[in-house]
Amino acid sequence: MLEIIKQPWPWYVAGPLIGLTVPALLILGNKSFGISSSLRHACAMCIPGKIPFFQYDWKKELWNLFFVLGIFFGGVTALTFLANPKPMQLNSALVKELNVYGITDFSSLVPVDLVRWDKLLTLPGFIMMVGGGFLVGFGARYAGGCTSGHAIMGLSTLQWPSLVATISFMAGGFVMANWILPFILML
């Protein structure tokens, strides 16, 4: 049994389970599934300044911070007890392309050739980690949600603005992965 769990889980198992998070949070306490709001709560909690956007009672939103803390521990648990010893099965076209940019280590879920502490102050590393993180945080809040809040919760409740947001997420990702990222990796 444990051997099966250690294998990568196929989409038709993982997808429906992710979908079940929506009713789980609703039934546990009438909470809407959304992860990026935790970043807003972090701001409201630590550095609200005098900014109206962060003036609210974040203590009411503690559940959301517990939820993301749980995700962190989920990562720890998966690493400690359920790690898959084999490297990932990737599309050979992607492997070939990434090899050109010197990305040859596929042992982790992150590209360790680029995403590690001593690469932080290289240009591509800085753009990816600091620049990318900034865009994720800024963009998610500007859009009023991220993949969980819009693509999953929003579409589940048939909100057309969430469809607009989801299409924009995908468009931005396509442009980055196909046309901008190659230049960054060449730096």
Partner: protein, 169 residues
């Protein structure tokens, strides 16, 4: 007049909250802090799921945006279908929360932010290969440098809040 002002402020506060998945439909019940542990448990399963389904893999996200694999589309697609059916069932059978409160839904309002912000978010997603949820799981599974990405995302959120009034919505 004073009442009108209060109404407007309340409405503003409501809109502000409604932009996020926040407790607009505030619970009237006061719970002890440890009631939040149930959300930690859901998060825990969710995090394991993220790692085991390789949703938090930078490589899987690259495959998705290059149309080289069906995996992520299958995951998001089936998650949405299951979510839709669940929400429909909750509405159809008027299911309450475990503490007996009514489950409510708030409609999202359209704003141009969903386009501009969405595109910026997409650029960041393609770059980091992680949306906010996976960031937490990546740190957990040992990619500690992702803490920098997370802090940067918090900084991005703060900058948005700071300049919100000047941005087109």
């Amino acid at each position: 007049m004073a009442n009108l002002l209060i109404d407007q402020t309340a409405e503003r506060e409501h809109d502000m909250r409604a932009m996020d998945s926040m407790c607009i439909n505030e619970s009237q019940k006061q719970h002890k802090w440890y009631y939040n542990l149930k959300y930690l448990t859901v998060g825990l399963f969710f995090g394991i799921l993220f790692v085991k389904a390789e949703v938090i893999s930078w490589f899987r996200i690259q495959e998705m945006f290059r149309l080289q694999s069906f995996h992520m589309y299958g995951i998001i697609g089936s998650a949405v279908v299951v979510g839709m059916i669940s929400v429909w069932l909750i509405k159809r059978f008027d299911i309450n929360t475990i503490s007996g409160e009514k489950i409510t839904f708030t409609d999202k309002k359209f704003s141009k932010g969903q386009i501009y912000g969405g595109l910026l978010f997409g650029l960041g997603w393609g770059l980091t290969g992680a949306c906010p949820g996976p960031l937490f799981a990546q740190i957990g599974m040992g990619a500690t440098v992702t803490i920098v990405t997370l802090l940067s995302a918090i900084a991005g959120t703060w900058v948005y809040g700071r300049f919100r009034e000047q941005l087109p919505h």
